[in-house]
Amino acid sequence: MRESTRRLPNYTAPMIFKEVAGMKKYLSFFRLSFTMGLQYRAAALAGIVTQFAWGFLEILVFQAFYQAEPGAFPMTMSATASYVWMQQAFLALFATWMMENDIFDTIANGNISYSLCRPIRIYNMWFSQSTATRVSRAVLRCFPILIVAAFLPENYGMAEPASAWHFGLFVLTLVLGLFVTVAFSMLVYVLTFFTVSPQGVRIVFTSMVEFFAGAVIPLPFFPAGWQKVLELLPFASMQNVALRIYSGSMSGAQMERAVALQLIWLAVLLLLGSGLCRLAEKKVTIQGG
């Protein structure tokens, strides 16, 4: 069967079948990591408490600035509050510092050799695993935070989405943003192939990304010139788009451009990451013994 498909130049039924079967492998990697992630319930509860406190204090900071100079505020207070709560609720989707330690370990201790023997693409396997971990963490944490935040008074809690259309777009950009984030962290994993000590690469990458992605302060709070440049970078395609679309603080043209940029950056990061990964697989040196 395999022999025959190899000789055929064009896409034929068996080959498509093989492709689907190939997808299935990665779906089961996704499922495995997802169920594994769901097991950490105590950690999730502690995470919820932490995220609540963080969100609450963050909003109080913004409130204090708002009261000091309402005119200088670049978003409405209610949009800012929604931004902060969603940032806390979906932290696990976008936090670049939350990386899979297992992956770093398999590279450092040489266990990667087992995965290299299997008929799978390392890149796809890691991609589906880290997506699953992030989604499972977010699923455990987001609902309590969102529900409570929805009942808080105006300007402190979550507002409703600007419209049904905005909400639909929010969901789409949330997923795209997650993929961009994972694709970016894949670059860090792949780069570890080339430098055995991942610490340096990781620290520089994550702290830079956090800031440029709008995790410290939302991008509209940057000076205009900075904001223009930052919006074009891949980091702005992570959490920034979805969280701002939700509360309607982007105009129609801005939204179109943001989604287009998300798609472009996702394609670029995927190509770059999988290309580098193939290169690394070819010249890989197995560590450990």
Binding site: A42, A43, L45, A46, G47, V49, T50, A53, W54, L57, L60, V61, A64, F65, Q67, A68, E69, A72, P74, S197, Q199, G200, I203, V204, S207, M208, E210, F211, V216, I217, F221, F222, P223, W226
Partner: protein, 266 residues
């Protein structure tokens, strides 16, 4: 008694020197981690910087005054983390059962836990705090006098005590449960992150809580008012020292935990 203290201090120095030599075996790793510490809190600084490009003041505090506030909080925290980090790794000690070894030795167990780890890489954070402090001091027009220098020193002592007390509570809770203790990060990391602004901006209730329950305000807000000349009542100089009381309940909880400790690990 005096001899005992002398012995303890000597042992503490010995622990410290072992840790320094140990860290220096991996110099690159040490400097990279220190750099990482620097970068992480540098993000917080950048956040403040960009907020103040847009706003002139928050709750009556200007940019340089906020930096002064943040730098002192960061110094307090880094000092506590450098020297009381052993408590932070305490869950591991309980999990693996190596706390049993500590208990059978004829030395104070707190001293041994403290000595088990010094996180000297926090020097990266400390360095940043010092630079911000220097900037804050030179731009917010603090009128230096003997009493103001004393205030800063007392702030560092008091703040270090508050954070060490929190680390001690964290360690003491490990005797009862090892799960879900991340919530303590709200009180430690949270205080470092949000202590960048004077406590008063979070509202009256928060000020009350941080004055009487967990005394952050005693080591941050009140003495800051004195430093900046916003309030000149002299008792504010000594307020940070009051925060040292926080070590008492923390220590009591620790003692309670030790007494109820049932060995674990294998």
């Amino acid at each position: 008694m005096l001899l005992k203290i002398k012995g303890a201090v000597r042992l503490y120095w010995h622990y410290l020197s072992i840790n320094v030599r140990c860290a220096m075996q991996y110099k690159t790793s040490f400097f990279l981690t220190a750099l990482g510490q620097f970068l992480v809190s540098f993000n917080v600084f950048l956040g403040i910087y960009f907020m103040f490009r847009r706003f002139r003041a928050v709750d009556g505090f200007t940019y340089s005054e906020v930096l002064l506030c943040f730098s002192v909080t960061l110094m307090e925290f880094s000092l506590a983390e450098m020297f009381a980090r052993g408590f932070d790794l305490f869950p591991e000690m309980v999990r693996t059962g190596s706390f049993d070894q500590v208990l059978v030795r004829p030395q104070n167990e707190i001293l041994q836990v403290l000595g088990s780890k010094f996180e000297l890489t926090r020097i990266g954070r400390m360095l940043q705090a010092v630079v911000m402090f220097w900037y804050g001091v030179s731009h917010s027009g603090v009128d230096w006098s003997f009493s103001k220098i004393a205030t800063v020193i007392f702030m560092l002592i008091g703040g270090c005590a508050v954070f060490s007390g929190l680390f001690l509570i964290y360690a003491a809770l490990c005797f009862f449960t090892l799960e879900g203790l991340e919530f303590m990060n709200v009180l430690t990391d949270g205080a470092r992150e949000y202590g960048r602004y004077p406590v008063s901006i979070y509202g009256k209730k928060m000020l009350l809580v941080t004055t009487f329950l967990i005394p952050y305000a005693l080591v941050q807000y009140y003495p800051l008012l004195y430093l900046l000349g916003k309030d000149s009542r002299p008792f504010l100089i000594y307020v940070p020292l009051l925060a040292v009381w926080f070590l008492l309940p923390s220590y009591a909880l620790w003692r309670f935990g030790v007494r109820h400790y049932q060995s674990s690990g294998s």
